[in-house]
Symmetry: C2
Subunit: 287 residues, 2 copies
């Protein structure tokens, strides 16, 4: 495995790999790899000749009040984990390798980015779409792997790929969870012991919602109220949003039908956590 910091370096390596007929899988990350990332990497290793993991804490997707500076970084540890999991190249540029001082081009996906997390994190998804476009242009992967945990991100990037004709297959991989159901995330490390115990309620409430729907509840308000009540019982929590949406448009559903995503963002202590579940057509009883 090689760790490469410059754009021309990774392009050279991958140009040779392509000449050798190898197809390329990309796992874009902000590093501090956890089981969720490793699961993406495993899928990439299974399905591609060459796997690139990008590790880049992307400044343009953090708001001014957000945790860009304190976001956890540990390249040595990431490199060990990546190597063990079968990665061929880590691409870990510095910010000034990725952005000129007068950088001025942004990729904007409209509407989809105003909903859910986008309503609370202005400019976040513009930063994500921009950096992922750049990574796609640099790496030119055949397939790219993203976690279901960041569901809105996946929907937005998939729309971007469609709208801009970017030649990459987008793979959405199920969320990896801790034993108590908490979605694994680099930000879980910010939690105190008590916060960490509390955080399990997010997924518990989503499971409860799933079971209510399976029993025939089709009123989104009732389901959201149930989730809200479960979470609010815990004094360390503050709900940002709970939404039940169409998985493609991300618009709120008036009624539970077809397929839906239930998504939420909740502060536990100072830490903003997100989670979601996807209910397929088969899981929703017909009216």
């Amino acid at each position: 495995m090689e760790i490469i910091k410059d754009i021309s370096g990774i392009k050279d390596r991958l140009s040779n790999e392509k000449k050798a007929g190898h197809n390329i899988g990309l796992v874009p990350t902000m590093g501090y790899l956890h089981e969720g990332h490793l699961n993406l990497i495993k899928k990439a290793v299974e399905n591609n000749d060459v796997v690139v993991v990008s590790i880049f804490v992307n400044p343009t997707q953090f708001g001014p009040e957000e945790d860009y500076e304190e976001y956890p970084r540990d390249l040595d540890r990431d490199a060990r984990l990546a190597k063990k999991t079968g990665v061929d190249y880590i691409f870990s540029p510095e910010p000034d390798e990725m952005y000129f001082a007068d950088h001025s081009t942004f990729v904007q996906v409209e509407e989809l980015t105003d909903r859910l997390c986008g309503a609370f994190r202005e400019g976040h998804f513009r930063g994500v779409a921009t950096v992922v476009s750049k990574l796609f242009n640099i790496i030119m992967p055949d397939k790219a792997y993203f976690g279901q945990k960041d569901f809105q991100q996946f929907v937005i990037l998939k729309r971007m790929v469609r709208d801009l004709n970017i030649p990459v297959a987008m793979e959405r991989i199920p969320t990896v969870r801790e034993e108590d159901g908490l979605a694994v995330s680099s930000r879980n490390k910010y939690l105190s012991e008590r916060g960490r115990e509390t955080a399990a309620v997010l997924y518990k409430s989503l499971k409860k919602a799933r079971s209510l729907i399976k029993k025939g509840e089709n009123d989104p308000e009732k389901i959201k109220n149930k989730i809200e009540a479960m979470i609010q019982k815990h004094d360390l929590t503050e709900i940002e949003y709970i939404e039940i949406v169409d998985p493609e448009t991300l618009k709120s559903r008036e009624e539970i039908r077809d397929k839906v995503v239930i998504a939420l963002a909740v502060y536990v202590e100072e830490t903003r956590l997100i989670d979601n579940i996807y209910l397929d057509r088969e899981e929703i009883p017909h009216a």
Copy 2:
């Protein structure tokens, strides 16, 4: 020469060309080819194994009050001219092949797009950057050819290519002019005979500016006033802007030095015409 209307068709052809080791030159156009386009095509033919001309009147770059509907189109004529000039493929998609009904992704180059024409054509360069990104992703050319006449467009697209790491070499080709100096343009056909004669003053005034600068004039205001006076003598004209700018930032120059672009947009009758000249370091006397 083949005329191809669908994205998958052109991708298939070009994938085979690339496998055969051929490099690809792209000339993006809105069709109604004139000597300016043919000059771009000639340069592309000289320097590439395979030349693609895209012909697409891009709806997203026209404002609601602009001439999208009446913009001249003549694919048969274009095909004859392109074939004669050595083009291998014309890619001429319909609008619904390029844009889904729920298209929502746009490429925005900030600041550069607010200046010159951008100040008067809101959203124009966003549409241009978006469609050119799409064309680059579909065609994946080694080189792309643009005319100097649309100088701001070139500067914006070059910035986009740099900022998003798009793997294409951007070629800027000098403006082709009629005998009386008028820059050739598909929109010249909108002019009446008298309008057409009047339009020659645009380039005459730019040439006058060049000669004043060569004689040592370094005050942009004086030069702009001279251009303005020459154009205003003609009653069919209405000046939109006359600017003297830095060729990379497009910011107004306080003083003529280093290198500058003098750019203007003028209505002649109902038709908006643009032109510009580039003055290199060598053409500007040192203070």
